[in-house]
């Protein structure tokens, strides 16, 4: 294949539509007779539903129906199926589409109101009268994990839903022989997701075919189909799911939500199209959040700073339900030991139920947590020994000559985890060079003259990408000679249509503009998984390559037959199969497609199979491992405690780059998300589980005015584990970013500063640390 497009920073085929207002998001679809839904939601964190009085609301203008779960008894009932069953959760902790008997967090949906427009549906929802007997609630996972705490779910015997363990070798033996041992506690805050488009779903039933169609802002349309089919006892062929343009996903949209089921049930019950568009206030109380964990870790290390073993315990805030099973805590464990070549590891996580909205992966899942813990420990060791932070890392990282490196951990399917390729120390060296670490002291002195405290932070990470089992793609050349690629992989703005088109265009020798990519429509492609965990470039990208190569081989076989030329003398270029070195001797893809479409009663040439098309699935049997080293500088104003990130440099290796423009965009967005986690994003609940941050006036997202330019340098170590040598790039920006910023803040505060064990930090907190460390006086 000639790499005309693969690796090139081509601009996105998605953009002209999105830039001119021709994007089509869920809320942009309208159907005749469509009803608009609003949900009646729990206003207490834990309670028993005594009654739902819809009398007044039912008679309000425009109201067509108000349903509770009891009204759907003839269609379906019971809890939703678990998305990821796990032996440690023999009783799934899933929602009912609408709450039955008990509510377990503020925002849980209890009734669905259908009206002829959204405003009237909301009017009526506000007029539904709930009688809920309030039950004791727990809003803090550490408190919830203690004996005697109120139970988040009155039907379960304990708030500890599961206890998970992971590790390798004998930690006790390594700790006994290590030169030093330190113990630290870490508190990582639960943040929200906040895709700019909230969730949404439109459901309708075709009266002729009885097919139930959902247009949903999902990262997992095929999961929605599978679970809805199970729940409704329908065949999957009677359910059609599609994702239109989706305004950001970042993880939470990978869940199958109770609202999706409730809207589908309402459409079945009313036989009319039903639309529900989540508003931002609902997003705060009903869309999953993540990252809330409290860890206690012991680290064993030697005099020279070499990190040898870690053991510890985590209280994981699961929230009230576990729609996605134990994916999040499992990811936290699997993200160890990061880039560090540990001799032993022994971790335990208590997965704790609280009366808060459930947690699920958000951009990196718990990988940023693991990176924060490991990188903070590395900094801690350096301070304890009085050596440079980079030396601890240099002496502790997995070395390039150890690749492939078996970490000792196991993947979700029980297979051993091994890092495929890379050079973690080289990445660290490069980022320190690019940020000019050797010139830092001079810059710090200059900042001090301006009354500011400058700090340098570093953080590295390893990111498992390309999660299996598969994605697939079909590639078809139309009679007009255009190429249509269809895949089950959904897109939430990552630029899949461009990246996948680049792969197909190169394989088939056609212009990029002649390739059209369809994503995640269950009527167009039979199977798909989810767009999560930076897996699409590896899985869908490889499947497009494999399917394209099959089409290419078929086109060459056809041309060889027709032109009577050996296959080795043929090439694909300019939309045709050409005889190498013989201008004018060729057969166009268009002609091959038309011929293989057949004529009645006429045989196909060479007894070939019909259609110039092929389908392939790439079965990802081993993870790929992207990695990165980050460095940043922060400037602290000692008079206000304000922290500004003034420089941020990323070195990143995700194997072969399909499109550097897209990869850089993914990384930059991820870094800013991580800076938000470090400095701004704080989801606050009171002791009774009431959220106190439900607007953007209270919950601060990172904005352009506070963000630095982000400089990116790529290393390109191809992965040997897929045909295109790629690794995922969706979350590599976020994973080390909070650790990097906090490392810089601690560095800015000076050698007397307390060890920073949490994020996000606040200006008030910084002022306290300044006082404790005496750094303010030094500035």
């Amino acid at each position: 294949m000639s790499a005309r497009y693969f690796g090139a920073a081509v601009t996105r085929v998605e953009d002209p539509r999105l830039l001119t207002g021709r994007g089509r998001y869920v809320d942009d679809s309208e159907f005749p007779g469509m009803l608009h839904a609003a949900f009646v939601r729990a206003s207490v964190a834990h309670g028993r539903i005594r009654s739902v009085d819809t009398g007044e609301a039912s008679g309000m203008p425009g109201v067509v129906a108000i349903y509770t779960m009891a009204d759907f008894a003839g269609i379906a009932q019971g809890q939703m199926p678990p998305m990821a069953p796990h032996p440690l959760l023999p009783t799934p902790i899933t929602y009912h589409p609408l709450a039955v008997e008990e509510v377990r967090h503020v925002g849980e949906a209890i009734a669905i109101v259908l009206a002829d427009d959204r405003a009237r549906a909301e009017d009526a929802a506000a007029a539904v009268s709930l009688d809920i007997e309030e039950l004791p609630a727990v809003a803090d996972a550490v408190l919830a994990s203690k004996a005697g705490a109120p139970r988040a779910d009155s039907k379960r015997p304990s708030n500890i839903a599961a206890t998970m363990k992971a590790g390798f070798s004998d930690c006790g033996a390594v700790f006994a022989k290590a030169d030093h041992v330190l113990t630290e506690r870490f508190d990582i805050h639960r943040g929200g997701c906040h895709s700019m488009e909230c969730r949404g779903v439109v459901a309708s039933v075709d009266p002729h075919s009885d097919v139930l169609t959902l247009s949903t802002s999902s990262q997992s349309p095929y999961m929605v189909r599978r679970h809805l089919a199970t729940y409704l006892n329908r065949d999957e062929s009677q359910i059609h799911i599609m994702t239109p343009d989706v305004g950001g996903g970042f993880g939470p949209k990978a869940n199958v939500y109770p609202e999706e089921f409730a809207v589908a049930l309402a459409a079945l019950k009313t036989a009319r199209p039903v639309k529900w568009i989540e508003d931002r206030q609902e997003h705060f109380v009903a869309t999953t959040q993540q990252r809330g964990q409290v860890w206690t870790l012991d680290v064993a290390f030697d005099h020279d700073g070499r990190m040898r073993a870690i053991r510890g315990h985590c209280v994981h805030d699961n929230g009230a339900y576990a729609p996605y099973g134990l994916i999040l805590p499992a990811t936290a464990l699997a993200s160890f030991p990061g880039p560090y070549a540990l001799e032993a590891l022994d971790l335990t996580i208590d997965v704790v139920l609280t009366n808060l909205v459930p947690t699920s992966p958000v951009r990196g899942a718990c990988r940023p947590n693991a990176a924060f813990l490991l990188e903070r420990l590395a900094d801690r060791i350096a301070r304890h020994l009085g050596i440079d932070r980079q030396e601890v890392r240099r002496r502790s990282f997995v070395r390039a000559d150890q690749m492939p490196y078996s970490t000792g951990m196991k993947a979700r399917d029980g297979s051993p985890i091994s890092y495929d390729s890379g050079d973690y120390i080289a990445a660290l060296d490069l980022v320190l060079h690019k940020i000019d670490a050797s010139g830092f002291q001079a810059r710090r002195a200059a900042a001090a003259k301006r009354g500011k405290l400058l700090g340098l932070g570093i953080a590295s990470c390893v990111e498992d990408t390309g999660l299996g089992p598969f994605e697939g793609a079909s590639v078809r050349v139309t009679p007009a000679g255009k190429v249509v690629v269809s895949t089950g992989a959904s897109s939430q703005g990552q630029g899949h249509r461009t990246a996948l088109a680049q792969i197909a265009a190169d394989a088939l020798g056609v212009d990029l503009n002649d390739v059209r990519v369809e994503t995640a429509d269950t009527s167009k492609f039979p199977l798909g998984m989810s767009t999560i965990a930076s897996r699409i470039a590896v899985t869908a990208g490889s499947s497009v390559e494999l399917a394209s190569q099959k089409v290419r081989a078929k086109a060459i076989a056809f041309a060889s037959h027709k032109l009577e030329v050996g296959e080795q003398d043929l090439e694909l270029e300019g939309g045709a199969v050409r005889v190498k070195g013989v201008p004018g001797l060729n057969v166009s893809l268009s002609e091959i497609s038309r011929t293989l479409a057949g004529n009645v009663g006429m045989s196909l040439p060479g007894a070939m199979e019909p259609d110039l098309a092929a389908t392939a699935y790439f079965n990802s049997t081993a993870l790929t491992f992207a990695y990165g080293a980050n460095a940043c500088e922060v400037e602290i104003d000692p008079e206000t405690g304000d922290v500004r990130v003034v420089r941020y440099v990323v070195v990143h290796d995700c194997g072969k780059l399909i499109n550097p423009l897209i990869v850089d965009g993914q990384i930059r967005g991820g870094v800013v998300h991580g800076i938000g986690n470090a400095l701004f994003e704080r989801m606050i609940y009171d002791e009774a589980g009431q959220p106190l941050t439900t607007t953007y006036a209270d919950y601060l997202l990172p904005l352009a005015s506070e963000m630095p330019p982000i400089e990116i340098h790529h290393m390109e170590t191809p992965s040997p584990r897929n045909p295109i040598g790629v690794k995922g790039a969706g979350e590599g920006g976020t994973i080390p970013a909070a650790a990097c910023v906090i490392s810089a803040v601690e560095n800015a505060l000076g050698s007397n500063a307390p060890f920073i064990h949490l994020h996000p930090i606040s200006p008030q907190q910084v002022m306290k640390w300044l006082e404790l460390s005496g750094s303010a006086a030094q500035a």
């Binding site: 830039l19 405003a119 895709s195 700019m196 950001g248 423009l661 897209i662 870094v671």
Partner: protein, 159 residues
Amino acid sequence: MSERHLTFTLNGERREASAETRTHLADFLRHGLGLTGTHVGCEHGVCGACTVIVDGAPVRSCLMLAVQIDGCTVETVEGLATGGQLSPLQQAFADHHGLQCGFCTPGMLMTLEAFLRVTPSPTQQDVRIAISGNTCRCTGYQGIVEAALTAAAAKGSRP
């Protein structure tokens, strides 16, 4: 609900329509007129996704009532491209990867369109402040800032 009759200019075209008095401008544009390019991200005036230009000034269409545009000139994202050609700002967004999911994009474009009309030669920091009322979760802002600076430079270089 009481309705009012409105007369206004939308993307250069004289329009008449009626709107419920409580309907905000974003819903009116999207659902009343079918101009779904304007997006609703927070409905409390913080995220900026719904920004449109009214009488030359960028406004949050979720914080303005539809009835307030009676007699006004309204510009939305649908009016930026002319004759199938992206505007210089739109083209710069594509060239600099200033968008990913595209949801905040119409609001970013309209904010910057209004800003660049009054600030033809901005610095990077000027641009960052100009879009500090628009939240983007995808791009990290850098592509957007580069796009705005490029569009400004292109405009400045024209006679």
